[in-house]
Subunit: 428 residues, 2 copies
């Protein structure tokens, strides 16, 4: 079968008379569609024309089924970002949406093809007008960063911004955030804001809002539903549970990890189920956990000290690197060891030196799953004897907790005490 003229046209977009952003009418065998022509979906096959319908949803139409295309109006920016949102309702609960950048706030650059942060909270709300049905949403931006560029000073900015809303009428605060390091930020906020009176939810997306099949809308709506429905405190991450649009998972902020580079269901609670599931159809929430945050007092300890080094051990790791860290004013070392919590005996001398220099040395495992047990094998026993502290938490949470514990203690003993104490359900 020969390709029809639209197949040819769409596949040689540069010479096509239809441009991305054009409002077009597509007539098919069964239906007609009016919408804005969108760039094609990078991860799927290229046999569909993707348009954004005027209700905000994107659809893919098989090119083979197209009988006729009419251009209704030319490419404009407002055709791509063309949503209006409802006026505020005073009867709905108040939710604050803080924007920090990330894919959820990004757009695809039609010239280069790259995705970068572009939208603030206000624009996110325009792109997902449905959210106004659930809550009376105020939006504000903190910064506009891809999350791979977020560093601990950004974490502190977010914490300070949230604290400024401690006495507000909001039932919850949602932070839109890039996914690459969202779990590091959620771990920090879990410690720094432990006891904060209302729920705080980080939300992101794996596909930008202006692209077909974006998971942004469902993740954001689920986050809103969660903060409205959940009447307690804590820091969480809300993302798709899997590829299915009908359920979002809500993870405890210290137990979550980005375990897939591109899937919608990339975020997982390590060593357990997500704490809550949010069902998209009717909004009901299933609780999978008995871990409920109910701290009476908010301590407001938001300081951190970044003199912490995370070392992933591998055969051949040179102890000279560890020596450099010891000699350059680091105050804590988190080892991402093997198995039940080991590193090679070629590092024992340096570890001994670190501990003698009052540097905190904690052990986690690169296995991802399973706990640390440093009393089973000879190696674990020897390391314990040297003064290594077993940390039954994911390495990402351990390094963040170490920065926070270091920032809120006066000496290594005090820090060790904080590291070994449960603050925000960080222990596996």
């Amino acid at each position: 079968m020969q390709p029809n003229k639209y197949e040819v046209n769409y596949n040689v977009r540069k010479r096509s008379k239809y441009k991305i952003g054009d409002l077009i009418k597509i007539e098919c065998d069964t239906d007609n569609y009016i919408g804005t022509l969108m760039p094609r979906y990078q991860y799927t096959n290229h046999d569909n024309i993707i348009i954004k319908l005027q209700n905000g949803y994107n659809v893919g139409i098989p090119i083979k089924s197209v009988n006729n295309i009419t251009k209704m109006s030319k490419q404009t920016k407002s055709n791509v970002v063309h949503q209006t949102y409802n006026a505020k309702s005073t009867t709905l609960p108040k939710v604050l949406l803080l924007s920090t950048g990330g894919t959820i706030a990004s757009s695809l650059d039609y010239v280069t093809g790259a995705v970068s942060p572009t939208f603030d909270g206000n624009e996110i709300q325009k792109l997902i007008p449905e959210i106004s049905k659930f809550a009376n949403i105020d939006t504000t931006g903190i910064f506009l960063e891809s999350s791979e560029n977020i560093i601990p000073s950004h974490w502190k900015k977010i914490a300070k911004k949230i604290i400024s809303y401690k006495k507000s009428q909001y039932v919850g605060i949602i932070i839109s955030h890039g996914t690459d390091t969202m779990h590091y930020t959620s771990a920090y906020l879990s410690f720094a804001l432990s006891g904060f009176p209302i729920p705080i939810v980080l939300v992101g997306s794996q596909r930008s809002l202006d692209r077909p099949s974006s998971d942004a809308a469902i993740n954001l709506i689920s986050a809103i539903r969660f903060v409205i429905g959940y009447k307690s405190q804590g820091v969480f991450v809300v993302m798709h549970e899997d590829e299915n649009d009908s359920i979002a998972a809500c993870h405890i902020g210290t137990r979550v990890r980005k375990n897939h580079s591109s899937k919608r269901g990339a975020f997982q609670t390590v060593g357990g189920k997500p704490a809550f599931l949010i069902h998209n159809e009717d909004g009901h929430i299933t609780q999978n956990t008995n871990k409920v945050f109910n701290q009476k007092f908010y301590g407001g300890k938001i300081d951190l000290d970044t003199r912490v080094s995370l070392i992933k051990y591998y055969p051949g790791y040179d102890s000279k690197l560890l020596e450099y860290i010891i000699d350059h004013n680091y105050r804590a070392i988190i080892l991402e060891g093997t198995g039940l919590g080991h590193v090679g005996n070629t590092l024992y001398e340096s570890i001994k030196k670190a501990i003698e220099n009052d540097i905190f040395v904690g052990m986690t495992t690169q296995c991802i799953n399973g706990i640390i047990q440093m009393n089973v094998y000879e190696s674990g026993r020897k390391l314990t004897k040297l003064g290594v502290t077993p940390l039954n938490m994911i390495p990402e949470t351990a390094v963040v907790k170490a920065m926070w514990a270091l920032g809120n203690s006066n000496n290594v003993l005090e820090m060790k005490k904080i590291m070994s104490k449960n603050v925000a359900f960080e222990f596996k």
Copy 2:
């Protein structure tokens, strides 16, 4: 209900008249058992008496059901290691078992309670006499190490030993190895021995041979069945597929990772199914992969150069550490970045400097699952422009491949070429 006298006795072992290693007869309500008294299983409850039966299997007998215990003979070493194995059969295929240590070759120290390597290949064979049913097995030891203490020079020793058997009658070679770093060793051997004419299988266990529920026997038997049944080449890891004793999984040596610190099914093929399943009941092998090693020529490139640094990125990672690596004669850096292959922009300058200094810089992801795509986001594009090479392989394999590629190339361009070329199905 009061505990019976055996419950009291067993729970105060030190004062008990039954010692570990004693041959005892246990009379219960339903059955009588004769076997060697074993130490209790660390991970389960302590309500059972564990004995090793004379057929080699361990059983747990509920203390509550015990009516009488008789000591038949006193504790001897040979009571613990009491197996005899069949005389060699000339009709069975020949298999070589190389021992390197690890839990599979370990025993529990009854005094300290710690597990450490004790058995050589010969003793492993005595402890698992069943293996003589499947093959005519020769055993030899290379070294006796816990795998957390194995370093690249050990890898080379294993490769050299295997090469010395290049022209032998063995249908396959099995290496017993600790599990902590078994996947690093398997990756190295996959590269160094690519094209070696017979299959090479690494096998380990999560519980030592002298402990109840040891997975050692089933893993070893499955490995033997695999090398006998599989008529091709390649380096593999054979371990339990999950907690179930009936199926063992056989993973391609460059794609496997220890993903759980203690479970029997700890080893998983990242981003796919195990290449083969070995069914314990009848020994049949299911093939899940079309990746078949059929290299005509064995290159014998076993050299490696350990001037490679694996850096796991996290927010707050200090570029000074990267600068130290650049300034101290490292020739390759493997970044374990975030998401689709990113690190924070605070590292860009140092990465630029590394590449200008002819240091290879490769990118992997800490997500575990999913591939690298450095053309989607602005960050990925910028890093690619700086000269970072995307490596679609697990970070553990990438660091090992970099050591091997560096050891077998004369300059960074040659190395880059090796890194980007498929050698042993290492690409996800």
